[in-house]
């Protein structure tokens, strides 16, 4: 978090618990990150590291009743200037923010739209609720939004059902829906993973363009470091439910401090490091998620691990704009 811009979203030491058949687990326990207005923060980490769960908790959409926020704060600055803790906000107040000030685009474009309502109705529904427009003008707004996300023949397609559209088109509809009430924060959870590469690039360009136009902050979740290089201002790296490193894109790519970030970048082809490739590069490696063990969670896989790494709690240390959760980050060569 840069000190001069007050952040739009500031998650502090978030802990999330799930009740499961084998008892309670905490897939997120130590997430600290922030998004400034107009900024794009990329949240990266391997599969199962807790990215989606973190983003859902911001919207209060953790699967109920199994999941809950059990610690930390999710501070959000409303348009009115008031800052609220979303984790403690009554559901009725949270509903007023959902779709209006915070919007979300999900990973699964094929299933995220309601199959029995036209795409126009689905966008208009949100617009009517938050912008207080009537039926006709809300539908008009839906049409404008489809136009804005570059869906051809918006006037006709506004009356179409999701199954009449391709995956790429549906994701555009999702983006149109998310943007329809000019949110100040957009959460995009792997919005392009399910799409093929050319469509991916178009969707990314679209999100960037709209972001510039309405100046919203974006929390962008992805596996893909190529995508990160292309669109993010800053990067937060997660491992096993914790944030292990945060920094600007340039710093993270040039001088990764945490051994896990380093490992991530090392399995990235050089081309992708320059942001030209869009392949998914982070393999899922079994981590010890959920059990709060002693010491650094990455120790079993860390080439730099020493005895002290196995005991106590490793804190997220912040210096200037950089945060790292590693005992030895100052000594390890990048």
């Amino acid at each position: 978090m840069s000190m001069n811009t007050p952040s739009l979203l500031s998650i502090q030491d978030l802990e999330i618990r799930f009740r499961t058949e084998d008892g309670e687990i905490a897939p997120v326990r130590g997430v600290t990150l922030s998004v400034a207005p107009g900024e794009t923060l990329a949240l990266v980490g391997e599969s199962g590291s807790g990215k989606s769960v973190t983003s859902l908790s911001v919207m209060g959409l953790l699967p109920r009743p199994a999941g809950r926020v059990s610690g930390g704060k999710i501070l959000f600055r409303q348009r009115s200037g008031r800052t609220v803790d979303l984790a403690a906000l009554p559901l009725s107040d949270l509903r007023g923010l959902r779709g209006a000030e915070i919007a979300m685009v999900f990973q699964e474009p094929m299933t995220s739209l309601n199959p029995v309502l036209t795409v126009g109705e689905q966008i208009a529904e949100s617009v009517r609720l938050h912008m207080g427009l009537g039926h006709a003008s809300a539908l008009k707004r839906a049409e404008e939004m489809l136009d804005l996300v570059e869906i051809p023949h918006a006037r006709r397609r506004v009356h179409e059902y999701p199954h009449q559209m391709s995956g790429g088109m549906r994701q555009r509809v999702m983006i149109a829906l998310a943007m329809s009430c000019n949110p100040s924060l957009l959460i995009a959870d792997e919005p392009t993973t399910a799409l093929d590469v050319t469509i991916q690039a178009q969707i990314l360009a679209l999100i960037q363009r709209l972001q510039r136009e309405i100046g919203m902050g974006v929390l962008f979740i992805t596996h893909n470091l190529g995508v990160v290089a292309e669109i993010a201002d800053r990067v937060t790296v997660m491992y096993a439910g914790q944030v292990v490193e945060t920094g600007s894109v340039g710093e993270i790519f040039r001088t990764p401090r945490h051994p896990y970030t380093n490992a991530l970048l090392n399995c990235l082809p050089a081309r992708a490091r320059r942001g030209e490739d869009g392949r998914r590069v982070v393999q899922s490696i079994p981590g010890s998620i959920g059990k709060i063990g002693d010491g650094c969670a990455f120790a079993p896989r860390c080439v730099h691990a020493t005895d002290p790494c196995g005991v106590g709690t490793v804190l997220l240390e912040t210096e200037m704009d950089r945060s790292v959760r590693c005992l030895r980050w100052r000594e390890i060569p990048a």
Partner: protein, 313 residues
């Protein structure tokens, strides 16, 4: 869509033909000579033979079948042996109580079953769910005659709110006749609501975990809107199916209830026709009930196209 409906109508005709064939041969396979039965013990062999000729019972069975098929294809269900009038007329006279009983029962079943099923799914595992599921289990296992007798005893005899039985004087005003259906329709509705509760609950649970429900919530919609518009809208197809099938079954299957409540409906007509081996009436009633069944199925298909755009295109 029209092509689909056309194909559907084609298969409907084939189904009706198969039904007719089965109805004809099954009723004829039963032992006993209706002519002899009709004339009683004192009849001579000559009398019986003459009567058999009048009703065409002396011809080879295949010829009888083909003649009969030709007749029903033109809408003529024949003449009742005992009632001295056309079968179609006998059925029409009995159609009103059966039709309204089925209509009211299925309405009661849907009005009780659908909201209960929705509540049960929304509050899954909670007290509401447990109560609803328990009651549904109970309703599914109560014999309708037993519940019928209890209702008669309580609401008709003890409290006097409703008529005890029957369908009023012939020629009584419509509303008075309809009032006679209140108790039987409630009984049938309750018994049949169990299946609708179960289907609604399962269908809603299925839909509530879909991705677009999360999207709907992410828009800031109220929970009521999420459940009733987004989830229920998608859960409708199986619910409509089970309501439609319930209606179809009620048309043919209300026999027990009609008997308990002394309603002069089609069920009643069939029972007495069976006892007297009145073949034309049995056959005619079965054909009509099967026809209604098939038509309701067609109707369900048509409703689908309104409910689910994916079927429409």
């Amino acid at each position: 869509m029209w092509l689909k409906l056309g194909r559907r109508l084609g298969s409907l005709i084939i189904v009706m033909f198969l039904v007719a064939t089965m109805v004809f041969f099954l009723t004829r396979l039963a032992p006993g000579d209706p002519a002899a039965l009709m004339l009683g013990d004192q009849a001579t062999a000559e009398d019986i033979a003459r009567l058999r000729q009048v009703y065409g019972l002396d011809k080879p069975i295949l010829v009888q079948f083909l003649l009969w098929l030709k007749e029903i294809a033109t809408g003529n269900l024949g003449q009742s042996i005992f009632l001295q009038r056309p079968v179609i007329q006998a059925i029409a006279e009995r159609a009103e109580p059966t039709f309204f009983l089925a209509l009211f029962s299925v309405s009661v079943a849907a009005l009780v079953g659908i909201p209960a099923g929705i509540a049960s799914a929304v509050w899954r595992g909670r007290l509401v769910d447990q109560i609803v599921s328990g009651l549904a289990m109970l309703a599914a296992n109560i014999p309708s005659f037993w519940l019928g007798l209890i209702f008669i005893q309580l609401f008709a005899v003890r409290l006097g709110w409703f008529p005890v039985a029957g369908y009023g004087e012939p020629g009584a005003p419509f509303m008075e006749r309809i009032l006679h259906l209140a108790l039987p329709a409630t009984v049938l509705g309750i018994v049949n609501s169990a299946l609708i509760v179960r289907f609604t609950r399962a269908s809603m649970l299925d839909v509530l975990s879909d991705d677009y429900i999360r999207t709907a919530r992410s828009k800031g919609l109220s929970e009521a809107r999420v459940v009733l518009r987004h989830a229920f809208g998608n859960a409708l197809v199986p619910i409509i199916t089970v309501v439609g099938l319930t209606a179809a079954l009620l048309v043919g299957g209300a026999i027990v209830t009609e008997t308990v409540f002394g309603l002069p409906g089609i069920g009643n007509l069939v029972v007495s026709a069976v006892l007297r081996r009145d073949y034309p009436v049995i056959q005619g009633a079965l054909i009509v009930v099967a026809g209604i069944y098939v038509l309701i199925n067609l109707l369900i298909d048509i409703i689908y196209t309104f409910v689910d755009p994916r079927v429409r295109y």
